[in-house]
Symmetry: C2
Subunit: 192 residues, 2 copies
């Protein structure tokens, strides 16, 4: 399951709440070259890597996808995702649209969800409220948000993140429905 | 929304319970040439038509789909379905696989759900339990059920009707998820 959406829309909180609700979801921790925020922990929110280390990983083919966003690199380590899927778990990738499009080339059975802000002013308020960013960075993120929104038709589902409990309910319904897809219901397919 | 499944699997009960739960679903009443069962009402369960009347309706192009099942004709009146969809309502068609395939040719945005019995013996028990059918009719329905099951890969979702409340919850989740599909979320599509 791929969850994308503009920076500041609340993807992280949605993932946290989903994980509390369900025990069939594994969170794929991304690697990044971006600076650690004060509240973040290495190996929990991200694997924080130097640019050199990140480039080495790219060279070694360790990433399922990687992308440069707001001047920093982000990537999904391949090994963990493959292991979890093999075990029948749902893996949630919280990644940007560039990364999502790369994943789409390799996983045709993934579910793509785009998380939307109630409106763009609300998004600005959330980014400012995070208060670890200066004005220039905020404007960059807003520009990027508008660009990202134009990719929404590449996604399967669009969920407005108005209230966290509603958002989690909606994504729960999507997961429940996707598990009922004929291709995902084992033992009912009689034909190819 | 198209709901199919072997005769006796409980499609009727599932539709009734769904309608109690939700006010956004309209039930499309089929026309049929089959005999009315004692508990059925004309214009409520079905429009019971003579073979001549049914043939006239076919000729007039009044049906969205029609099919011969267990020796009787069944058809979906076109007018009601089109009106309700125009009003933004969900219309549920409780029809057999032949009819579903006909609908599929005309509505690419419909959702196809196949209702499964927990197993075929359970299905037999339900058909016998209905006790309005003789042995030959029961065998015909069982044969037909096996044939219908082979069409399941033409459907989007497969729902096992083990317990009615679970089944209704599952279909609720499917409806909720389908409403969140990008193509169904108004005002979020920026590209074609």
């Amino acid at each position: 399951m791929v969850l994308s959406g503009p920076s500041g829309v609340g993807k992280g909180t949605v993932c946290e709440e989903l994980m509390k609700d369900r025990d069939d979801i594994r969170y794929s921790i991304s690697a990044t070259t971006r600076k650690k925020r004060p509240n973040e922990k290495d190996g929990e929110n991200y694997y924080f890597l130097s640019l050199d280390d990140f480039n080495q990983r790219i060279e070694d083919g360790d990433f399922l996808e990687f992308a440069k966003v707001h001047g920093n690199y982000y990537g999904t380590p391949k090994k963990y995702v493959k292991e979890q899927i093999k075990n029948g778990e749902i893996v949630i990738l919280e990644i940007d649209v560039q990364g999502a499009l790369q994943v789409k080339e390799n996983f045709d059975n993934a579910v793509y969800i785009f998380l939307l802000p109630p409106d763009l002013m609300e998004l600005r308020r959330r980014i400012v409220g995070r208060s670890t960013e200066d004005e220039k960075q905020i404007n960059l993120r807003m520009e990027n948000a508008k660009k990202e929104l134009s990719f929404i038709d590449k996604y399967d589902y669009a969920v407005v993140n108005d209230e966290i409990s509603h958002t989690v309910d909606k994504i729960d319904a999507i997961i429940q429905a996707e598990k009922l897809r004929v291709r995902n219901v084992k033992g009912v397919q009689h034909h190819d």
